[in-house]
Subunit: 224 residues, 4 copies
């Protein structure tokens, strides 16, 4: 639909100060997180980026394409910044690897400053999936989940059926996602409110790891 297209989306960093394109991407990230795909208007994005209304269409062709680009780059950045192996060697003790996984998952969405909105963005995408979700699952979530399955499998031993392993992995993931998926509820329940602060992230991580570790104790005497 557009005739020509500027720098190929992810590759080369713009030459001058920061580049309209990059500023648009950043502004769009914040606004999409705040107000959602529909709620964030192209005008507002352009304004926050200090660019013209037409700039969005010029650089991304489309509002929805800008959205996909935002999701991709923000998600990619989150993955890179908080790898689920936590920097551990592949042969580290399984307990440590589980803890690292949990910690990374929580950190991604609850990090301070810049990546603060990545969690909200993700939550919105779950509630109202767009074309972006396919890419995200395929490129990011699926591989991570495979890694978690391996950890859980190692904890449960080879005799446990695959379905049980999958359910257990889901249990681990869910405990992490909860804290930003259900954030509005967390904020309104007195018992949970204290844990909203970024400082509480470590406490949550420790709890989730311990809770899961206890539940995943390899069944000794009895067979499942």
């Amino acid at each position: 639909m557009r005739s020509k297209r500027p720098p190929s989306a992810v590759s080369a960093p713009p030459t001058h100060d920061e580049g309209t394109r990059a500023r648009l991407l950043a502004a769009a990230g914040e606004l999409f997180a705040e107000r959602g795909l529909r709620g964030a208007t192209v005008r507002a994005i352009a304004e926050r980026a200090g660019a013209n209304v037409a700039a969005v269409n010029y650089h991304f062709g489309d509002k929805s394409r800008l959205y996909v680009e935002v999701m991709r780059s923000s998600f990619g950045e989150a993955l890179a910044r908080h790898p689920t192996d936590g920097g551990l060697p592949a042969d580290a003790p399984v307990d440590e690897r589980l803890r690292a996984f949990v910690r990374a998952l929580l950190a991604r969405a609850r990090g301070v400053g810049r990546p603060a909105w990545q969690g909200r963005l993700m939550a919105r995408e779950m509630a109202d999936p767009s074309a972006a979700i396919d890419v995200m699952v395929r490129e990011g979530i699926a591989p991570e989940f495979e890694r978690l399955l391996a950890i859980v499998r190692e904890l449960l031993g080879p005799r446990v059926p695959a379905e049980a392993v999958a359910l257990a992995a889901a249990s681990v993931v869910s405990q992490c996602l909860f804290w930003f998926f259900a954030e509005p509820v967390v904020a309104r329940l007195p018992a949970l409110k204290p844990f909203r602060e970024a400082a509480a992230t470590e406490a949550i991580a420790r709890h989730v790891a311990e809770f899961s570790r206890a539940a995943l104790a390899r069944p000794k005497g009895r067979r499942r």
Copy 2:
């Protein structure tokens, strides 16, 4: 509880078979679940309800007020249909009460037929909270969560600090919510896809209850 509404809503059967107001409520529920508050147009709602556009204004005054009403009634219905005590007496064994709680939570969002969209509605509200969430938390979620806290407290014993109880309760809840909050991801992960079917709900419920029960085993020798 409703502030002001023209028709009497419950008493005399209106001119049509079911009453325009009720049909609007149902149609709005479906469409809000499908497309969200913004995405569902008043026109589409009215059309699906077989009513005039102005009917929404006449009966609810406002699109947003219709939305609140939908949330309230759908949520209230879900609460009533699947009580978290599962019909158990208050002195039933704590294990059974935990299982009943989990089962009810899962059933609400994954129930077949009519309330099929209540889960999506809830998930959307979490991702993009509106005025409705205050009412919902206050009237529905908070009391339920208190009940869960009591169950968990009973399992962990009186020595465990309140924060630990809260975190544990969050772990239980999160494992239930996961299945419809993260539905789009579940649907795209081969290992989890089988559990999407309504028939799998019972298996999930059993897993969550067991997983949590194991994690919540009262610490014997060592203190936490």
Copy 3:
């Protein structure tokens, strides 16, 4: 368009307490004066009258017909309450008759309480004439103006051409109308603001009569 119609509009006073019809008429008068024909909604009128929305259409067939009815009755009442002859015999001195005329004109629009809105109603009708104006001019204004023409003619004598008499009469009328036609301006000019109070009406009347009387002094020495 309507099949049957209630009491014939102006004749018999309603039998019971006050009658929906009469209450509608009063409420409509106030609201039309406050907000204009377009600005006053049928719903607001019915509400203020303590009647049903459909009552307006039932009793008057039409919003515009209600408006005409309001204009007619309110204008008729104003005419009756403040006759321009001021109760003077037809052979009273011309100076007194002029003064009485001016006083009546001013009183109609600046009376306290109930008829307070008749002036606004009239002003609105001038600015945005409807079908009602024809009746009003024919039945009320034209005869009054004829009377004024006679007074002016008596003052100026028979030699002055008819056009000059008409212009002079216009000058007299205009000085009265000014005070409520230009009310918003009067209210904003410091020099005129004091005259807004109802108590100032008499001072204005005296001034207008004197000013006009001086201007209308029959030319003595020189011919016009």
Copy 4:
């Protein structure tokens, strides 16, 4: 003086012959005069201006803001085109200055061609004042009225109290405004109808000036 407007309005000639903004302003002036603020729809204005509906929003942000702009520009233009000093030096004879004032006031509302609707616009604003009237009185009417007060004061002499001067000035103004405030009545009274024609403006001006001059004759022997 204008707060914020996209196009540069005065500098470079826009893409069309006259500029969408200017055409909108003109079309809106006509339609507001014909049908009032409420009666003139944005759609009709845009259509008459040969522009899109959204153009109003783009250039003026709002229907009401467009209205204010119309009032401001049309009123400003009227002031500029017919200055109340009529080009006379400040030390011209007071009689001439009074005549010039009257003539200007009448010309503004009864001028031929372009500003033909300014009178009606003003009359409407009086009958149903909007936010625009504050600006108009402050910036245009008040200064003019001060000038008239000075003229009248000069005619009456220094002994006459300020209230009397104010009333006399009101009498002068009212005789001018009458001809377009009460236009619908003028058109329906046979004696006044001839004066509707633009050609009669000069005759009216002469009459008003003479009538007022006679009334304002400085009291000789007796004190007022």
